[in-house]
Amino acid sequence: MHRLTTLFTRLNLGLGLFACSAIAWAGPALDGTTEKQATNWYAISMFCLFVALTMGITYWASGRTKSTADFYTAGGGITGFQNGLAIAGDYMSAATLLGLTAMVYGQGFDGYLYMMAFFAGWPLILFLMAERLRNLGKFTFSDITAYRLDQGKVRTMAAISSLTVVCFYLIAQMVGAGQLIKLLFGLDYNIAIFAVGILMMVYVTFGGMVATTWVQIIKACMLLCGGTLVMILAFSQFGFSFEELMSKATAVHKLGPKLMTPGGLLADPVTAISLCMGLMFGTAGLPHILMRFFTVTDAKEARKSVLFASGFVAYFFNVIFIMGLAAIIIVGQNPEFFEGNTIGAKLIGGGNMVAMHLSKAVGGNMLLGFLAAVAFATILAVVSGLALAGASAVSHDLYARVIKKGEASASDEIRVSKIATICLGFIAIGLGILFEKQNVAFMVGLAFGIAAAANFPVLILSMYWKGLTTRGALFGGYSGLVSAVMFVLLSKSVWVDVLGNKAAIFPYTQPALFAMPIAFLMAFIFSKSDASARAKEEIDAFEDQYVRAQTGYGAATASNH
């Protein structure tokens, strides 16, 4: 036990989780220490402004959150543009801003490549899923998987995998939040964790989806504006010439002319493809992202949401690319940002501070404060979205449909979801404190892996394949869940890095390429071999579901306000 604890402590990579971004990447660690920084009053006052504004919105939203539809999906009345911003807000976490800037700064082209993998899932979600999601779903994505299958069993499975995804993602976000806030604001880790947890509980319990959506929208605007401002100020130092930026960056970077050549990040084809599949299909299986498709009026607005969301995401990734490149010269050549004032030594605050140092270099303490506030707001928004998705899985799926078999009253259901949110909040705080000193990077990887292997296959099969039966869905979903967890557990990122074993049993760090086929295959085999009368009914029911998916006739409509 003692050995284990020392290992944990030694392996504390602090903000490594942000560098590793949304997956457990075992490449060169952009780790950083997390010593407390001097209190930045600009950051704190700007953050307080954000909190005051969002609290005002939550108060306003609480008056508008009466029915279950209001609570889960803001009454389905969000416009495509608003929802697009909110999706972008949900999707672009602090990892995006800090981790990816650091990645471009450290590895050049590889960071850009990584962003492409994050982006490419969106067009596919639009072409193959957005419309059917909106036409078939109401509050959670299990409305779709359970549409013609056994409500109790399928919803239980979907709720288990949703909650698993939400919990792993929450731990990663909470630990990251604590470290980040300690760094940026000079606050104590535990205070930071409590602040995030309690603010999240307030937003979600009082304001439901209405408040959560507006928190996402405000945060997305702040992130887009802040990033753009830093990018313009930095880029102006190179006369807005990409060629000049490149030549200067290449001249000083340790990779030299190799800066814009694909490097070690995706050198192994199996890992490369598995990683890209995990990011692409994991996105399409994340419960808090899927939930956003039910907040719009109809399929038309759902499509527009993806158009705006992917536009913002693509734009912002390119902003980050330029920020990272400019930082190579502006931050990387300024001794002020290195420990002991020596260029090439450790960056002050660790590798993830690149974006922050850049903002300070081009805009002084005020811009630094603004960007720090943006990063905090970002974490809050993502955590709130996750908590709402988790709470809906408990109240809408488990409580209302499985335990009460659809007989629960609306007020009971809302009460359960509020209790679930508060429980999730305390669980998140508890886990955040528990995992403070541990490397939690693999947990985000696990969340994406489970989303890709447990949620996505059953969801897509239920929409596209007539032959899917309850038995097939259960085997597919559970085998995807178990195999994704096992592959990550036995891979280097947990088996060696966390548990301290010598060699990994599973040779790859990314589970998607292996766990997804298992889930699809199991769903196929156990559906095909299902000869029960119930299975026949389920297959027959596909026809009606198919017409509704295609036309939207009978789809949940926006409630009136």
Binding site: F109, Y112, L113, M116, A117, F119, A120, W122, P123, L124, L126, F127, L128, E131, F242, E243, M246, S247, T250, P257, K258, M260, T261, P262, G263, L266, A267, D268, P269, A272, I273, C276, M280, A299, K300, R303, K304, V306, L307, S310, G311, A314, F317, N318, E543, D544, V547, R548, Q550, T551, G552, Y553, G554
Partner: protein, 106 residues
């Protein structure tokens, strides 16, 4: 009640036309995205040096960067193209199908 509606819609030749046309369109676009994206990933894995070549003599901008920027823009244009067609042409067709099923009902 709604099952009878679905029955009538399914029987409408326009429904079959909508499903076939929109399905073909969506899968074509999806295939383009998947091919380009995974093609690029394979190029990264198997031939990184070719992506690292400069586009012009003396320039430091590589093919990899240009292709990626192109993909960001191109994928988003495909998204816009799909939304435009689905929200006009296909949605008009969908409305006709639903309305015709209603009329038959009355």
């Amino acid at each position: 009640m709604s099952s009878a509606m679905y029955q009538r819609m399914r029987g409408n030749p326009k429904f079959q036309a909508l499903v076939a046309k929109r399905g073909r369109f969506a899968w074509t676009l999806a295939a383009i995205v998947l091919t380009l994206f995974y093609g690029f990933v394979l190029a990264v894995a198997f031939s990184p040096a070719s992506l690292g070549q400069a586009i012009n003599e003396g320039s430091l901008v590589t093919y990899g960067v240009v292709i990626e920027l192109f993909m960001f823009i191109f994928f988003w244009v495909l998204t816009a193209y799909y939304v435009k067609r689905a929200n006009t042409e296909f949605d008009v067709l969908t409305q006709e199908i639903v309305q015709e099923a209603w009329k038959e009902h009355q």
